[in-house]
């Protein structure tokens, strides 16, 4: 068993040190690029759908609880099933992966942006009305800046989840870091699987750090 682990680690180091694995199509860098592309596209589309919904509901305060419950149940949508289903319906291409990842990205962003907007102190909200701000002015000048840390936390959660789930793309013949998992599984090459896992984990952590920095940058000083 100990030997197994040692040889597994040796395999991983061997994989990373092969120059061949760093060049051309199918190289580590190519897979990383593909992977990041899926993640960025899916997170952006997800944000474009989820944030207006969460923010809008939070701002108006209407129908929110229902939306939150629906969105929480949305977390139960099995990404694996969505990928295969859309693959059967739309055929080979990035479409199945993007659809599944967008569905995955939406719930945390809706929930967080809604909660962020609702948690703005009612006294502050009321002061903004009493000072004669219009709905848009309240939204942009008061509520959004105050809710921003929570909204960003939602985007961050989504991005990290999408990052690790994007590995399923390989199951329907696409690229990305999931290739190492699916191919490794097929030929029982655990070293290759571990390589994929490490790369995804590193990317996910990089995403966390990136967002943590971003969050600090755009959070108003008075709220820190």
């Amino acid at each position: 068993m100990n030997n197994d682990v040692m040889s597994l680690l040796a395999g991983v180091i061997d994989f990373f040190s092969q120059p061949m694995n760093w060049q051309g199509p199918g190289s580590i860098l190519a897979h990383i690029t593909e992977h990041i592309t899926y993640v960025v596209i899916a997170t952006l589309i997800g944000a474009a759908i989820a944030l207006p919904v969460g923010i809008g509901l939070g701002h108006s305060g209407r129908g929110g609880l229902l939306a939150i419950n629906i969105s929480n149940i949305g977390r139960a949508i099995p990404s694996f099933g969505v990928i295969i289903l859309v693959f059967l319906l739309a055929g080979f291409g990035v479409m199945p992966v993007i659809v599944a990842l967008v569905a995955l990205a939406i719930p945390p962003m809706v929930t967080n942006s809604f909660v962020g907007m609702r948690e703005v102190d009612p006294a502050v909200r009321q002061a903004a009305v009493a000072l004669g701000m219009t709905g848009w002015q309240r939204l942009w000048q008061v509520e959004l800046p105050i809710a921003m840390p929570l909204i960003m936390a939602g985007v961050r959660t989504s991005a990290v989840q999408v990052m690790s789930t994007a590995t399923l793309a390989a199951y329907v013949g696409l690229g990305g870091l999931g290739r190492y998992l699916i191919d490794g599984l097929a030929v029982r090459d655990l070293a290759q699987v571990l390589v994929g896992a490490i790369l995804v984990a590193v990317l996910a952590m990089a995403t966390e750090l990136l967002f943590a920095g971003l969050q600090k940058l755009i959070t108003a000083k008075g709220l820190q």
Partner: protein, 211 residues
């Protein structure tokens, strides 16, 4: 939708659903049993809190599929493989929520309980846990719903509950089993979620009417 296929495969469908429920239930149970004492330790010794959050955070970034595959050399294509993987994920979610819930008990309440002469254990079970309950149940809800989706991935290592229907659909290029698996797993999530909300409502009478 091909209802004929559904009719002739009810046995396979119910078996998949049962396995799904079983995996989710056991993962939640084991996850809770491990997360709870760990959370108590982290609350008791706040120095453990930061590092334990970091560790659970890092583990959460490992793709579930990779975790399942990497467990295979130890436990093979058995149910244990998927169960261990799923338990690890529930553990991560539950640990964070239990700690957060217990730390959310206001110091004045804790102080009052101490002043009234509660022993630490009694204080934990009759004061702190009930107050932390809503946050803990919220964690269980998220864990349950997340795990219900994640179980399907274990189909790739020969388990998978309703995920098996996805593989069937994929290999046959046939949408019906996919749709069935899909609908059942979402319905399962809704049912479990509602049940947990109900349990919380029943356990926290003082919160009724408060939004």
């Amino acid at each position: 939708m091909n209802w004929g296929w559904v009719a002739s495969n009810t046995h396979q469908i119910t078996a998949a659903l049962l396995q799904h429920v079983q995996l989710v239930g056991l993962a939640l149970l084991f996850g809770f049993l491990i997360a709870f004492p760990l959370a108590l330790l982290a609350v008791r010794w706040p120095r453990l809190y930061g590092p334990s959050l970091a560790v659970t955070g890092v583990m959460f970034t490992i793709p579930s599929l990779a975790l399942f595959i990497l467990l295979m050399p130890f436990t093979g294509l058995s149910m244990a493989t998927s169960l261990i993987g799923l338990t690890i994920y529930t553990l991560l979610i539950l640990f964070r929520n239990i700690v957060q819930g217990l730390r959310g008990v206001s110091p004045s309440v804790r102080e009052a309980a101490r002043a009234l002469g509660y022993t630490p254990a009694r204080r934990l079970f009759t004061v702190e846990l009930p107050i932390a309950l809503p946050v803990i149940v919220a964690g269980i809800r998220i864990a349950a719903v997340t795990i219900i989706g994640m179980v399907t991935v274990t189909a790739l290592i020969g388990q998978g509950g309703l995920g098996q229907l996805f593989i069937t659909g994929f290999t046959l290029s046939f949408a019906t089993p996919l749709v069935i698996g899909f609908v059942l797993s979402v319905m399962l999530a809704v049912a479990v979620d509602l049940a947990l909300v109900g349990i919380q409502y029943w356990l926290t009478p003082w919160q009724r009417g408060v939004r």
